[in-house]
Symmetry: C2
Subunit: 257 residues, 2 copies
């Protein structure tokens, strides 16, 4: 593994921790040597990617990340485009609605509006959603090239529940159905008791960049709500794609690969 990825692995550990981590602990978690860990941290700190708390000497995410995040948002205003649409969809459905963005092999939740119902689905921002086990994942794959779908099929199908798709054929069938339907359906494939519908957000050239999804307790699901919410989520995803990239976006699911 390259040195750069090792360093970025430390950042990932810090991201997943809710407090500053000490050198020894970080080295243990990452399974690097203490000296190596320290050198990497110092180099990251010199660039502002991590910072060391004065008192505890623990390391935490640094200010440079906020700057860079802002810079990216300026050039690629995902949040600004997505938020109003997600809110509207949450209004219309009364369920928890969230947006995800593709990042390094999985979908990461970037914005959520929770349902106001007492029995609701709760999601944490930044959470990683596997492509093979969520409505968002299905929708993303359905909007991807066959080559990409195949590359995912070659990976491990971690089983989260009894209904998590297992194996290439199952997943391909789901992708096919999703393409026909125009939106994806997940029946408790990641977590028991949670069902979702989702649709992909398309970027330049029709390439998917993320998704929006409606998640609800399985107890409230009926074929009618699935179809109603599915249609809504598809329309809203399309709306975001247009807002983001204007007319340059190709229509959903028109694949010339």
């Amino acid at each position: 593994m390259g040195t750069v990825s090792k360093a970025l692995g430390l950042i990932e550990l810090l991201r997943n921790s809710d407090q500053a981590l000490g050198l020894t602990e970080l080295a243990r978690l990452a399974d690097y040597d203490k000296a190596t860990t320290r050198r990497l941290l110092l180099e990251l700190a010199a660039n502002g990617y991590v910072e060391q708390e004065g008192e505890t000497r623990g390391y935490a995410l640094g200010p440079a990340l906020q700057m860079l995040g802002r810079a990216r948002e300026n050039r690629f205003p995902l949040n600004r485009s997505i938020q109003p649409v997600v809110r509207e969809l949450a209004e219309l459905t009364g369920e928890t609605v969230h947006a995800t963005e593709y990042c390094a092999g999985s979908l990461a939740s970037i914005f959520t509006v929770e349902s106001s119902k007492a029995n609701r689905v709760i999601l944490e921002n930044g959470q990683k959603l596997p492509l093979h086990a969520t409505a968002s994942g299905f929708a993303f794959l359905a909007a991807s090239t066959d080559t990409f779908v195949e590359s995912i099929c070659k990976k491990q199908f971690e089983a989260f529940t009894a209904t998590t798709p297992q194996g290439r054929d199952t997943l391909l069938e789901i992708v096919k159905q999703t393409r026909n339907r125009g939106y994806s359906i997940s029946n408790q494939s990641l977590e028991d008791g949670v069902s979702s519908v989702a649709a992909a957000i398309l970027g330049v050239g029709g390439k998917p960049i993320g998704t929006i999804a409606v998640a609800m307790p399985a107890s409230r699901v009926t074929p009618e709500t699935l179809e109603k919410f599915g249609t809504l989520v598809r329309q809203h995803a399309q709306h975001i794609s247009l807002r983001l990239f204007g007319k340059s976006t190709v229509q959903p699911f028109s694949k010339a690969s």
Copy 2:
């Protein structure tokens, strides 16, 4: 230089560019070999820190940066705490007000409210402000330890205008005056025609983490406005420090119950 810093240098180049950059151009700008540049970019891309545009093959900042920026903001809600205060200060002064955060050796502008006057100071977000040549820098140094101030004195005093402080003694005198006064004053030390007053935002243990500053055309400056705005900027900076860290500005906050 370490490999990690080289990779992060590429990210910095992408941050300063308003469009995607090609491999060759990036290699030229960074002065690395093409093969090296490519390997670094691929590794960064695998982690989502940069992404390659499908069409032009150019590289741009990646989605991981937004995730990480959000993660940092969650744990360290600088923006949320600062923005209302900066807005209020802009109201009160009628001038351009901005906040900076210390990041890897200099202060970076993170939030700005522009004056509504026709003749106003304009700042770009993310812009780096040198510690030795801005009101923000003076305020930050004044709130820092003498050790830190000395370490800055050892560096190059790049001259931006005729009044940019030159040499250790000049800077130390400014720091001393700033400490007595409670806020800093810059008289066109970075750019001709622009004067500023600033005060530091303090974090845990009284350690400065950034500043807020009021910037105005030198033509509007009088001793009275300087004193009025200086007092205001000091009070508002203090207010942010309290909002951020409550009473525990002297104590570590990570162990909070």
